[in-house]
């Protein structure tokens, strides 16, 4: 299972890099969300995959019995997904506003903040 997921992460990163190298801002953002999913999967795999029971502590005990899934990576991934999703939503809206005010999504043509210097 680990090998399969590692290959999947590799594919995700490769596609993400391919998309992010494009000059189109929207493609860049799609690459970014693939990359963030690859990062989430990495955390998930790094926490060891166990085909165990949910990590529930029975009544009156301090620790769960038997092999249970590691709850910490799941908590981390959950947080990271929420934050990543919020940031992605912001980035999408920013791209939309950029298209509205700059009239282009081609990153090569976005030179308003760094115009050619007049004194060079």
């Amino acid at each position: 299972m680990e090998q399969l997921l590692s290959i999947l992460i590799g594919i995700l990163v490769a596609s993400a890099v391919y998309l992010m190298l494009a000059r189109n801002l929207l493609r860049f953002l799609f690459g970014l969300i693939l990359l963030s999913n690859a990062a989430n999967l990495t955390i998930f795999v790094a926490g060891r995959l166990t085909p165990g029971a949910p990590p529930l502590v029975p009544d009156g005990l301090d620790a769960p019995i038997g092999v249970v899934a590691n709850a910490l990576p799941q908590a981390l991934v959950l947080t990271a997904i929420v934050i990543g999703f919020g940031l992605f939503a912001f980035a999408l809206i920013l791209a939309f506003r950029a298209y509205q005010s700059l009239g282009t999504l081609n990153t090569d043509e976005m030179r308003v903040a760094e115009p050619k210097e007049p004194h060079q």
Partner: protein, 497 residues
């Protein structure tokens, strides 16, 4: 409950909520000022406690250390929190005259307080995942502040800033995952103990490099700095002042924290990389500054070259070099934020930031000219200002271990800094205004709200410069803690160990 650890975080959050509710009334700005003032008091209290106890830690929700969320303050964290609060207070006052009604209505003051909360949290947190979360709080607030004006320039700068910061965030997150996989913990103190037991030390170095790149983007080191000069000159002046002062320093702080506490297993490799990075950052930053002609762009490139000095202090890893890095960190935040605030006043008086198109500030506003000269000279390293001592310690540290070439670079970059400061001086202050405008201070709206923070920060620079002894001693104590983290680890882990 360790109130002194939580108050510097709770106050800005509370102020953010109140400021957001009052965003359409003029009271919002005052909420921000009062909030920052209370935050300053809280961080002074924290500083007093830390000076007394050395390291203090608090377990949130009473979960014991490696499992729960830990807030921890050693001397480095405490001084960073204090300096954040000082800068925040100064900029909050300055915002009275800088932020217009529209920006206030869009929630400027709430976002500003949120940014302060994020920065403070990043300095106080004791585990890696919370560092990520605080980085996000800080990033989201900074995204909002950056594009608040909504002009073409802001959107364009914002796109680049957002894109590169998101990549660094993802890299940081991946590094966290891999490190957790190897050590099974995310708590700094616990990590410091566990990394030595990892079998595959080579893999650990790979993860260390991932963190170096991730924090390097935040700290804007060579070759990862391109987002900074693209974005920092676009927002309102109070925003770019607080960005320039604080945001990159959070990256530097994270680098210092991780590469003294956790990743000290392969210093021969990681710190050599840091050394090269530091040298290139210094040189490229100052060359970039020499090529620019916009007030704020010159200053932005200067941030990059100055970051190089701090990374240099970390890379050398000798006690004296780290003293220099800590001293530099504190001095630079004050000076840099101040210069950006002055750029704001200059723009208001002369109508622009392009130095070839403005002028005449010295003749009609000599007081402002002096206020500019103090931080500018301090940045370039003139005695007896604070920058001189910072540079002197760093250069002395390189000479002590006979790295002549590095010392030469550090000195030459200092010289180049003077050159590009001279450009601002000659063009914006010395020569007459090309359009014949007389930039007089009495034309300034909200004159005192803008001048008092600038003068206050300048006075602080002079005070540190004339009275460096206690500050150097403090930096020495901080360095001793960084190089020997036993107290840190013992305080955080408590009796769990």
């Amino acid at each position: 409950m360790s109130w002194y650890l939580t108050l510097p975080l709770v106050i800005p959050f509370a102020a953010a909520i109140v400021a957001y509710l009052l965003r359409s009334s003029p009271l919002g700005a005052w909420v921000s000022i009062i909030g920052s003032g209370l935050g300053l008091l809280a961080s002074i209290a924290l500083m007093a406690v830390v000076l007394d106890a050395g390291v203090v830690a608090g377990q949130m929700g009473n979960w014991p250390a490696p499992f729960g969320i830990t807030l921890v303050a050693d001397l480095l964290s405490a001084v960073m929190v204090l300096i954040t609060a000082i800068t925040g207070f100064a900029v909050a006052i300055y915002a009275l005259g800088d932020i217009n009604e529209r920006q206030a209505k869009l929630g400027y003051h709430a976002l500003f307080q949120l940014l302060l909360a994020g920065v403070t949290g990043a300095f106080l947190t004791g585990d890696l995942f919370n560092l990520y979360v605080w980085f996000e709080v800080m990033l989201i607030a900074s995204f909002g502040l950056l594009i608040l004006n909504g002009g073409k320039e802001q959107i364009d700068g914002g796109v680049k800033y957002v894109a590169l910061n998101l990549i660094s965030t993802i890299l940081f997150l991946t590094g966290i995952g891999l490190l957790y996989g190897m050590t099974g913990t995310l708590n700094f103190a616990d990590l410091a103990l566990k990394v030595d037991q990892v079998e595959n030390q080579g893999l650990l170095t790979v993860v260390a490099m991932m963190f170096m790149v991730a924090f390097g983007v935040k700290a804007a080191v060579f070759p990862l700095f391109f987002w900074l000069p693209a974005a920092y000159h676009t927002p309102s002046f109070s925003v770019s002042a607080v960005f320039a002062g604080l945001l990159t320093k959070v990256g530097v702080y994270a680098l210092i924290r991780m590469f003294t506490l956790v990743f000290d297993h392969d210093i021969g490799f990681t710190h050599t990389v840091l050394l090269w990075v530091a040298c290139f950052t210094m040189v490229i930053g100052v060359l970039g500054a020499a090529a620019q002609s916009d007030f704020r762009k010159i200053l932005s490139f200067h941030i990059i070259s100055q970051i190089g000095y701090m990374i240099l202090g970390l890379a050398l890893m000798t006690p004296l070099a780290l003293v220099g890095a800590v001293f530099y960190l504190v001095h630079h935040i004050i000076v840099k934020a101040n210069l950006f605030l002055i750029a704001g006043i200059a723009k208001r008086l002369t109508g622009g930031t392009e130095v070839y198109q403005i002028g005449g500030l010295y003749k009609s506003a000599p007081f402002l000219a002096i206020l500019f000269l103090i931080p500018a000279f301090s940045l370039a390293g003139f005695p007896p200002l604070s920058g001189f001592w910072a540079k002197y310690i760093i250069v002395k540290a390189t000479l002590d271990i006979e790295m002549w070439f590095v010392a030469f670079i550090a000195l030459a970059v200092g010289l180049m800094t003077i050159y590009s400061m001279t450009k601002i001086w000659a063009e914006a202050f010395w020569k007459p205004h090309p359009d014949g405008i007389k930039p007089e201070l009495k034309n300034l709206e909200h004159k005192w709200a803008q001048l008092v923070p600038v003068a206050g920060l300048a006075a602080l620079t002079i005070f540190i410069g004339l009275n460096p002894e206690p500050f150097v001693q403090f930096a020495e104590r901080t360095t001793a803690q960084l190089l020997d983290p036993t107290a840190y680890i013992a305080t955080v882990l408590g009796d769990v160990r």
